[in-house]
């Protein structure tokens, strides 16, 4: 981060300088402070307050952290739901983010070469980002329709039978294995097909955004590195792995972090594509969806608020771990 600017005012004495400047600063900050305070921070505090009570349509008894422990281990209905949705959410992240990054990276690399039509490609790839999920959902319902969808027609060409896509609760590994007559139990079954479809839609949505960042990152790599390596006789593949990838690590890291947080928090896409239900046999019920269901379908506001804060902590923890583990491998050149 660039150093903060310290204004050099040679006329006034150091003593008098600060208060005036501080007052000005607070005046500048006033609108932001007021709006964020009233509409974000105060509601967050209120929500925290709610999370400490049994709040079943109306405020009930004080429970301290009882709502929190219910989610984590104490309740025979809530705890399994929580851990299930947490695992669904993480599976969602694991499937979506690395794939997103890999695809965007490859496409950016291809686009970076001087070629015709680059602008057109970039524009097309960027289109999904500006489309709201409400509009996109209607289309994807049809594209992945179990009976009439195009995707079924396409996989039919490959010899695969029609699938239920967004309605399919079975895991993808399980589906693949059953085609050759093997059954896979429990966890080995993998994420449900519905979740995978959700991943694909998410990747579709963010493709352009990531490509733009990678393109910028690529353009930042000094050509001298390549020239020097070329003189040493490096092959194309070596150039890519030894120079491009490492020097792309700052934007990759940025994208990885932002994307992970985004997917962990995603609601609109999941809600709209599962019509608000949480998907087939709850296999696409992310934590955000569980919060929504608890608070707005079961009217359990205390429990809902508690879960939301648990999610916040999870995101915080996950981000910190990411910084620790991956941050070290980032090459700032």
């Amino acid at each position: 981060m660039a150093a903060e600017v310290i204004p050099t005012n040679v006329r006034a004495s150091p003593r008098r300088r600060l208060p005036i400047e501080a007052i000005q600063a607070w005046l500048f900050l006033l609108p932001a402070v007021v709006v964020l305070g009233v509409f974000q921070i105060f509601p967050a505090i209120a929500a925290f307050y709610m999370s400490l009570f049994k709040w079943d349509v109306v405020q009930g008894a004080f429970r301290g952290f009882g709502n929190y422990t219910d989610w984590l281990y104490d309740s025979s209905i809530r705890s399994p739901d929580f851990w299930r949705s947490l695992s669904t959410t993480f599976t969602f992240v694991i499937f979506t983010v690395p794939l997103e990054i890999a695809i965007s990276l490859v496409l950016s690399y291809l686009l970076f070469q001087k070629m015709r039509g680059r602008g057109i490609y970039r524009t097309i790839y960027y289109l999904p980002y500006v489309t709201s999920f409400v509009a996109a959902a209607a289309i994807f319902f049809w594209v992945f329709h179990p009976t009439y969808g195009l995707v079924n027609d396409l996989v039919g060409v490959l010899g695969i039978g029609p699938q239920r896509w967004l309605d399919e609760p079975s895991g993808i590994f399980e589906l693949a294995a059953s085609a050759i007559g093997v059954t896979l139990p429990g966890l080995l079954a993998g994420p449900s097909l519905a979740l995978v479809v959700l991943s694909l839609v998410t990747i579709w949505h963010f493709l352009g955004y990531m490509i733009v960042i990678f393109l910028a990152g690529l353009s930042n790599i000094s050509s001298e590195y390549y020239e020097a390596a070329r003189l040493d006789g490096a092959s194309e593949r070596q150039l890519f792995t030894k120079i491009t990838l490492p020097l792309l690590s700052p934007p990759t890291f940025f994208v990885f972090t932002v994307a992970s947080i985004g997917v962990l928090r995603s609601f609109d896409s999941v809600y709209v594509l599962t019509s608000g239900t949480g998907g087939p046999l709850d296999t696409t019920r992310t934590v955000t969806l569980l919060v929504f269901k608890t608070a707005f379908q079961q009217a359990q506001f205390g429990l809902g608020a508690a879960l939301a804060f648990i999610l916040t902590l999870v995101i915080l923890l996950f981000t910190l771990i990411q910084f620790r583990v991956l941050g070290r491998r980032v090459n700032y050149g």
Binding site: E4, V5, V33, F112, K114, S132, A138, L218, V291, A295
Partner: protein, 298 residues
């Protein structure tokens, strides 16, 4: 390391090598482009089909007959004119006001010294972390006409208004950080020069910093505008009357009404998505550069 290299520059030496891989590269890019663009293609072509053809399987590549009246039909079925008016007004207001707030706050963070800066910064950062589902009910109560629910204070009573869709979004930590990054990179010499000329912070901000920041402003503005245009969950619960409803909520309601009139739903989706796509096509250069900038800085 972060030199401002324009995007048009390709990787060196590759352009002189034999173009064996070019066809393969284009092939991959085209296939991906087709996959990415297919949903849009599907949406637009379906919007011109008639009822039965729109739900046929497998879908026809191109409509057998063009039915542009689907658009007028869909338009007449709901007060879209009003929805668009609402959305444009709300989105424009939010964008302008948010940019003003963000610039002022970002300037303070970037170039002014004051106590509590670190704490405030962290607090603002925290607002980005909390999922909106948690604060939904308290914010809803805040907007209600209740007299006692807001910790003893009367609440705002802003249901079914424009304010309710605008005011909570006048400040966004994201925009503040975006502008702050930019303001930090303004050279000190300019600030010194302004001081010597006797210009106060406000004047400096208005006459020098802002004009230099136009790309960042446009970026932040576009992102904000886009977010506001696509807003769904909040307007859904705070507006009941069509008079104040924005287009996304209108589209969602239309989806239920249209039922199996799929061609009409696609027509509506198209004209809801179209303005933003056009805006993007016109302004993409700025959006792209701006996002690139955030990415490099990390």
């Amino acid at each position: 390391m972060a030199r401002a290299i324009p995007l048009v520059r390709g990787l060196p030496r590759f352009s002189t090598r034999p173009r064996m891989g070019t066809i393969a590269k284009h092939a991959v890019l085209i296939v991906v482009a087709l996959i990415v663009a297919y949903p849009f293609y599907f949406m637009v072509t379906s919007s011109f089909k008639d009822t039965l053809e729109a739900i046929r399987t497998p879908p026809t590549i191109f409509p057998n007959e063009l039915h542009p009246e689907n658009y007028t039909d869909a338009w007449n079925r709901a007060p879209w004119g009003r929805y668009f008016l609402n959305t444009i007004f709300v989105s424009a207001s939010v964008t302008i006001l948010e940019l003003i707030t963000a610039c002022l706050a970002a300037y303070a963070f970037a170039r002014l010294r004051f106590r509590g800066k670190g704490i405030l910064f962290t607090l603002f950062l925290a607002t980005l972390m909390i999922p909106s589902e948690a604060t939904l009910i308290p914010r809803y109560v805040l907007m209600s006409p209740s007299r006692v629910a807001c910790a003893g204070f009367p609440c705002l009573g802003w249901f079914d208004t424009y304010q309710v869709q605008i005011v909570p979004f006048i400040a966004s930590a994201f925009s503040i950080f975006l502008m702050r990054q930019f303001f930090l990179s303004i050279p000190n010499e300019l600030a010194d020069a302004a001081r010597i000329d006797g210009a106060g912070h406000l004047r400096f901000l208005w006459s020098i910093v802002l004009p230099l920041s136009i790309p960042a402003l446009i970026t932040a503005g576009l992102i904000t505008f886009l977010g506001s245009w696509d807003a769904f969950q909040w307007p859904l619960i705070v507006t009941s009357k069509p008079d104040f409803r924005p287009v996304q909520v209108g589209l969602s309601a239309f989806r239920q009404e249209a039922g199996s009139s799929y061609h009409l739903l696609m027509a509506a989706s198209t004209f809801v998505v179209a303005p933003i796509v056009l805006l993007f096509l016109v302004a993409q250069r700025y959006l792209v550069q701006g996002i690139a900038r955030t990415g490099i800085r990390g």
